[in-house]
């Protein structure tokens, strides 16, 4: 599946908004936003997010732990790599 980085970013933002209780999540999402400290991702949110990403992008995460990704951009990079 070919998908531009911007499109991946938008879809990932949608997922994080759905996973988060914070209505400001969309505004806070930049490539450098830290998932845990800035976007308030907990381990439960992370589990939900990983499921949502797998189903949305039709990919499978390998070797993923709760601490595998530090920033929003790291997740976008991972998805982009998986889709390429």
């Amino acid at each position: 599946m070919q998908m531009k980085r911007e499109e991946i970013t938008e879809k990932l933002k949608d997922i994080l908004i759905s996973a988060s209780d914070d209505p400001q999540t969309a505004e806070k999402c930049t490539d450098d936003s830290k998932l845990q400290t800035e976007l308030g991702m907990t381990s439960v949110n992370m589990l939900y997010t990983v499921i949502a990403i797998e189903e949305t992008f039709d990919i499978r995460f390998d070797d993923v732990t709760v601490s595998s990704f530090e920033t929003f951009g790291d997740v976008v990079d991972y998805i982009e790599k998986k889709l390429s």
Binding site: S18, A26, R60, F61, D63
Partner: protein, 299 residues
């Protein structure tokens, strides 16, 4: 299944709470708790080693938290493996890697040793939550800048994963589309200035009204039932609410007091009010401009 903090017995499935999730293991003795991954202690987190099946003592496993043991009902007991087999399986996997947060985590491991079935209730719960969520995105655009068609095409692709013309061959109104057991429901409406579209996975209706058009007297005749009174902007808000809930019925007979309808104004220059009738709790509103949409508000 019930989890209780009690003295652990050989072969018990045990767990501790770490934040909002649980970490699981198999208790063999006070000196041997076998788990997939590491206890939530800084010395393990700092190493950043790939998670392996390992054995630690009960104090390390608990990491200062309460250890809960799995208690089974009479019927559930029939499903568990014999204690010695549980211990043997757990020990045989020491040093094994291949951890995966979703597909091969500590809970999968513990269940496989204890019941012979690889599953994670935490993963299943989250998956159900994701699959059963009700989504609702609303897009609106200034018709002097973008066409309704372009916005509809963008919204259907972005929120529903659909190529609206290839998959559905429609251009306005309310319609639904089913693919792989998933529904995409789309509703559109417009005035002379503004067009709006709602995309949801449950039935949805959208209504747009432009302040001052039609004039108040005409509108009252068109939409107000016998006991309905509304003036000024409130009348146009009522109009948009009725349109969103109409579903093909006459506007005069549509009740707008039921829950599930939300109304919001577009930017002042558009002079329009939009209502959406749906089951979704969360509503995301996007303004569409120049071939892209940005989140403009959150209701």
């Amino acid at each position: 299944m019930k989890w209780t903090p009690r003295d652990c017995a050989k072969g018990d499935m045990v767990r501790i709470q770490t934040g909002s999730v649980f970490h699981y293991g198999i208790f063999v003795s006070e000196d041997e708790v076998i788990q997939f991954g590491y206890p939530p202690l800084p010395e393990y987190a700092d190493k950043n080693d790939p998670p392996l099946v390992c054995a630690v003592d009960i104090d390390t496993f608990s990491s200062g938290r309460v250890v809960q043991c799995l208690d089974l009902s009479r019927a559930e007991r029939k499903k568990r493996l014999p204690v010695e087999q549980t211990v043997k399986t757990a020990r045989s996997r020491l040093g094994e890697g291949g951890y995966n947060l979703l597909h091969n985590n500590c809970e999968h491991f513990a269940n496989e040793c204890y019941f012979g079935v690889k599953r994670s209730e935490q993963e299943e719960t989250m998956r159900k939550k994701w699959q059963s969520r009700v989504t609702l995105d609303v897009y609106f655009t200034d018709l002097s800048k973008n066409s309704e068609k372009d916005m509809l095409e963008y919204a259907a692709r972005r929120s529903g994963g659909l190529d609206i013309y290839r998959d559905m061959n429609v251009s306005s109104g309310s319609f639904t589309y089913e693919a792989d057991g998933k529904w995409v429901c789309i509703s559109t409406d417009k005035t002379a200035r503004c067009a709006a579209v709602a995309v949801s996975n449950k039935p949805v209706g959208i209504g747009v009204a432009q302040y001052g058009s039609p004039d108040e007297n005409t509108l009252k005749k068109l939409i107000c039932g016998l006991f309905e009174r509304a003036e000024g902007r409130e009348l146009y808000r009522l109009y948009s609410r009725k349109k969103s809930a109409a579903g093909g019925r006459r506007l005069k007979s549509v009740k707008t007091s039921k829950p599930g309808i939300r109304t919001f104004d577009t930017p002042e220059e558009l002079g329009c009010v939009i209502s959406v009738c749906s089951e979704a709790e969360e509503l995301r509103v996007f303004s569409y401009e120049n071939g892209a949409a940005s989140i403009s508000d959150r209701i």
